[in-house]
Symmetry: C2
């Protein structure tokens, strides 16, 4: 149950054993069925989640009902609805499971305690907050093909595990465009 998150934390902070125990004790487990919502629009996100197993999609629904994917997550990754978490305002975005999943939740107040303990954990939180990965795509102005090539290198698992329409949405292009890029590359 806690093996993976312990490994993940140790890679990031390597806290003393008793601190790690303290943290683990505060975790809560949550099962999320396929298509279930971890965060719904209007809810306030006050936890950070570690995925024990399963897949999640983080997306925004516009006024016109179109969904645009903010991020995609696979097992043993951390996630949160950063905007809501930071502001403690209701979220405009959703996080939805795309398979039966299990997550461990760490509550904001416990995180805050942890940041008192460890500067490196503070930094981890920042990195998570930033959604740094997804920013990478958007800051550099890349062509759709360059974005896909970059994704293949930086996060190849995504292409394995998510439908292409979500991948396309994540990269900010239509499924048709992605399909044509993939065809072109495979030649």
């Amino acid at each position: 149950m806690f093996q993976s998150i312990i490994e993940s934390i140790n890679r990031i902070v390597s806290p003393p054993a008793e601190q790690l125990t303290l943290l683990i004790e505060r975790l809560t487990v949550r099962q999320v069925p396929k298509d279930g919502f971890l965060i719904r629009e209007g809810q306030t996100c006050s936890s950070v989640y570690f995925i024990n197993h399963g897949f999640f999609r983080h997306f925004n629904v516009s006024e016109t009902g179109e969904e645009s994917t903010i991020d995609l997550y696979i097992h043993h990754e951390w996630m949160l609805e950063y905007k809501s978490f930071v502001s403690q305002q209701p979220s405009q975005n959703c996080i939805q499971a795309t398979s039966d999943s299990e997550v461990l939740a760490l509550h904001a107040r416990d995180i805050h305690d942890l940041t008192r303990i460890s500067e490196r954990f503070f930094r981890l939180m920042m990195i998570l907050e930033m959604g740094m990965r997804s920013q990478e795509f958007q800051q550099n102005r890349l062509t759709p093909e360059e974005k896909y090539q970059k994704l293949l290198i930086t996060r190849p698992e995504l292409v394995q595990h998510f439908p292409l329409k979500h991948i396309a949405s994540y990269m900010g292009m239509t499924p048709e465009t992605l399909s044509r890029i993939r065809k072109k590359i495979s030649l």
Copy 2:
């Protein structure tokens, strides 16, 4: 000298007077002439800056030499090179003054102390880290015109104070496109 930053901090955290004094004592003042660099490519950013007066542009230079604007800042705003700050690695980006300016610098270690004191300051740091404002444009997939309309509402001062070519770059479009949008809107 410290009036504006005190007001800003009080809006965010309202710390006890003695803590505020402690913080103010740790600030260092830095004059930056027009076109001077606060952060150069290759430098590591270990401070957060508060702008007493002046304007700054935060941008990335690609391999081909093109500049893309990450954010624009005016007086009494906070700024930092978040990626470098978080990772404590040399920055790939620059922060340059676009007018004669004066900033107050708060060093990372002092910030860390502050986050021990106040959860709200911790949150502020996160927001700064995220470059949340600039993300807003990129997450929702807006048309160039929608981006500009949104900017006019959320940060009208930018349009007052920065050349349109920087505004355009900030929104991820060419100056020509912005020029045409402005013409269209003004009709």
